[in-house]
Amino acid sequence: MATVALKGITKNFGPAPVLNGIDLDIAEGEFLTLVGASGCGKSTLIRIIAGLEPQSAGSVMVNGAPIDHLRPHERRVAMVFQSYALYPHMTVAGNIGLPLTMQHLSLWERLPLIKLLSPRRRRVMAEIGAEVRAVASQLQIEALLGRRPAALSGGQRQRVALGRAMVRHPDVFLMDEPLSNLDAKLRVHMRTELAELHARLKTTFIYVTHDQVEAMTMSDRVAMMDAGHILQLGKPAELYARPANVRVAQFIGSPAINLLPARIGEDGAPEVLGCRLPMATGLPAGSSATVGIRPEAIAPADAGKPEAGQVSLPAVLRRAENLGAEFILHFDVAGLGDQPVLCRVPADHEHGTHGRTDLVFDAAQAHVFDAEGNRVEPSGLAQRASGKPVRLYLTGGTER
C-alpha cells in the first residue's frame, strides 16, 4: 500500500508535448482511473509511473519519496498490459512465478543445467510454487497452472496477467486497458471482479481506460485527460454531475450529452435556440456558449401544458431505440441541423409514433460552458415559490 504523487510530469516526443505538467496525488489504497480518448497521454503517463518510459521533466513519488532513479523492477509496481504480455513459452505457473524467480534466485541459479548445482534452488522453487498456487486459487485458475497461454481463453489470460501482478504484492497496480481485448460480456464480468479484487487487496490501483463506463463503475476517483492535460479530477459522480469542461461532459455518460449552441443575452442569461434560460452566467453579453443537457434530463412534455413565455421550437421524433428497460428517443430540433437531441425515457413511456412533440427540461439540470468550453456556474437560478426550478419548454411546432 502506498501513496503516489506526480509532480509536474512532462513528456515530449520530439517537439510535440504529450504530457503537460501533470500533477496528481493518489491516496493509499485508492482506485484511480485515467480516462480519455486515444492519444490523450494516459498510457504514456502510466508507463512513466512504471518506469518503462522516462519523463522529460517532473517527478514520480511513492510514499513521498521520488522513484525516478529506480528501474522498473525496483519500483514495487506491477503492471497488467492490454495484450497481457504473457510469456508464451512458459506455463501459467511459470508466468505467475517469474517475478518471484527473478527476485529470489541469482542469475547462476536460473541458468540451464548450472542451476542444478544450487543447493537452495529446490527449496526456493518450492516456496515460489506455494505462493503461485495461493495466488492462482484466489483467481480460480489453479486448474490451469500447467497450461501455456496459447491454450487459454481471453478471460483466463487476463487472470494469469493479474496473478503475475499480484504475486509480487506490489505497492501499486498499474493497469493499461486490461479489459479492452475481452468481449463485451466478459468485460462487464471482469469489471466487477477487478473492483472486488481491489476491495480485497486494498492496494493502490492506477487504471487506464478509454471506456467511460469502466471509469465510472470501478473507480474511487477519475482523472479525465485530454491532450496531455488533466481536464478534471474527481469522483465519478462529480464528473457526471458537474463536468468541468465540455469535453468531459461529452466523454462521460452514455448516450452522450446533448450539446446545444447558445448565445448570452443582455442580462447574462444564455439563450438556446431562441429560448432563454432563467439564470445568470456572468459571461459577456453576445458571447457564444454551449448548453449541455443529459438525455435523462430532457423528455417529451406531457401533452397540453403551454405556459406563458414559452418559445415554440419544432421537435420531431426521428427514431426510437428500444433498449429493453428504456428507450432512447432521437428528436430533430430546428436549428440544430442534422444533430439529434437524445432523450432517455422509461420503457413504459408513451412516445407514440406521431412525431411532433415538445421537449422539456429543468433549467437547473442544464450545464453551461463558455466559448472555451469551461464550465460556468450559473447564479440567480430563478426559483419558483415552491422551490422547484422553472421548467422550460422547447415546444414542438405544427409541421416541419
Partner: protein, 309 residues
C-alpha cells in the same frame, strides 16, 4: 423483397453431382500434371538413374555396364580419399555450424538494437550472401596470401609471424571454414532478425517490470526461448549448406595441401568428371544424399513438431 431459401438441393441435382465430381477431379489432375512432369524429369528420374548407376561399374563413355551389387559402396568405405573427405566435411560442418549460428545470432541482436543505422548494418552483413563465392574466393586468396596479403602484413606488424593459411595442411580447412562462416553469418542474421522482430515489445517490458534487469536476463527469459523454433530452422539450413561445401575448395585449395581440404562434393566431382568413374561417383552421391536426407528429416519432424507460439 425476395426470400432466400436454404432448403436442400432437389434430388435431380444428385445425379449431376457425380459428373461434377469427375470434372473437378480431372481439372485437378490437369493442373498438377505439368508440375509432376517437371518433378519427374528434373528430380526423380535422374535420382533413379543415379541409384541404378551406383550398383554398376559404368564409366563415362562406356557402351555397357554390368551389375556389381554393393561393390561401389564397400570400395568407398575402404577408400582413404573418401574417408578423409567425409571426415573433413564433418569437421568443416562442426566448425561452421556453431560459428555461423552463434555469430549470426549475436550480430542479429546487435543490429536489432540499432535504429537509424539498422538497414546499413543489415546490408553490410548481408553482402557476402549476395556476392558470388567464386569471385569472393579469389579475393580471399589474395587477402590470405603469405607474402602479398594484407592479413599476413597485419600479423607481421603485430609480431605474430607469417602464416600460409591455404597451403599449411593444419590451417587449410579451418581457413575455409572461416570463409564459409563469413558467407553464412549474413543469411543467418537475416533469419534471426525476422525472429527477433516477431517478439512483441510488450514481453520485454513485462519482463523488465518482473525483474529482468539486464541484457542477459532478458536474453535468457525472452529472446532465446522465443527464438527457439527459428534457431532450429537456422541450424538445419546451415548444416545442409555447410555440408555442401564445394566452391571455395574448388577455387582455392583443390583439396590440398596433401588432401587436408578434401571434401565430399569435391571428391565426387573428381571421381565423376576428372577420372570418369561415373558409377563410383554415383555411389558417393547416394551416400552424400543420405546425409542431406537425414538433415531434411530432422527438419521435417523435429522442427514441425515443435511448439510454435
Amino acid at each position: 423483397m425476395s426470400t432466400l431459401s436454404l432448403a436442400r438441393a432437389p434430388a435431380g441435382r444428385r445425379a449431376f453431382g457425380g459428373r461434377q465430381a469427375l470434372i473437378e477431379k480431372l481439372t485437378g489432375i490437369g493442373f498438377a500434371t505439368p508440375a509432376i512432369i517437371l518433378l519427374l524429369l528434373i528430380d526423380l528420374v535422374p535420382l533413379g538413374v543415379l541409384g541404378v548407376l551406383s550398383f554398376t561399374d559404368y564409366e563415362l563413355g562406356g557402351t555397357d555396364a554390368k551389375y556389381v551389387g554393393l561393390a561401389n559402396f564397400s570400395k568407398a568405405m575402404a577408400d582413404p580419399v573418401f574417408r578423409r573427405s567425409m571426415w573433413n566435411t564433418l569437421l568443416y560442418v562442426a566448425i561452421v555450424l556453431p560459428g555461423s549460428v552463434g555469430l549470426g545470432l549475436l550480430v542479429a541482436i546487435l543490429v536489432h538494437g540499432r535504429k537509424r543505422t539498422r538497414s546499413f548494418y543489415e546490408m553490410v552483413y548481408f553482402l557476402p550472401v549476395t556476392a558470388t563465392l567464386i569471385a569472393m574466393a579469389t579475393v580471399w586468396q589474395f587477402l590470405l596470401h603469405p607474402k602479398l596479403g594484407p592479413v599476413n602484413a597485419f600479423l607481421r606488424l603485430i609480431g605474430a609471424g607469417e602464416y600460409a593459411f591455404l597451403s599449411e595442411p593444419s590451417l587449410a580447412l579451418p581457413t575455409l571454414a572461416v570463409i564459409g562462416m563469413w558467407q553464412l553469418i549474413g543469411f543467418n542474421m537475416v533469419l534471426f532478425l525476422a525472429g527477433l522482430s516477431s517478439i512483441p515489445k510488450d514481453l520485454y517490458e513485462a519482463a523488465e517490470i518482473d525483474g529482468c534487469a539486464n541484457g542477459i536476463d532478458r536474453f535468457l527469459t525472452i529472446t532465446w526461448p522465443l527464438l527457439g523454433p527459428m534457431t532450429m530452422f537456422v541450424i538445419v539450413t546451415t548444416s545442409i549448406t555447410a555440408f555442401k561445401i564445394f566452391d571455395t575448395v574448388a577455387v582455392m585449395t583443390r583439396g590440398g595441401p596433401m588432401g587436408s581440404s578434401e571434401v565430399l562434393l569435391y571428391a565426387i566431382s573428381l571421381e565423376g568428371f576428372q577420372y570418369f568413374h561415373t558409377a563410383y561417383a554415383a555411389a558417393l552421391t547416394v551416400i552424400f544424399l543420405a546425409f542431406i536426407l537425414a538433415f531434411a528429416v530432422i527438419q521435417a519432424f523435429v522442427l514441425d513438431r515443435r511448439v510454435h507460439y
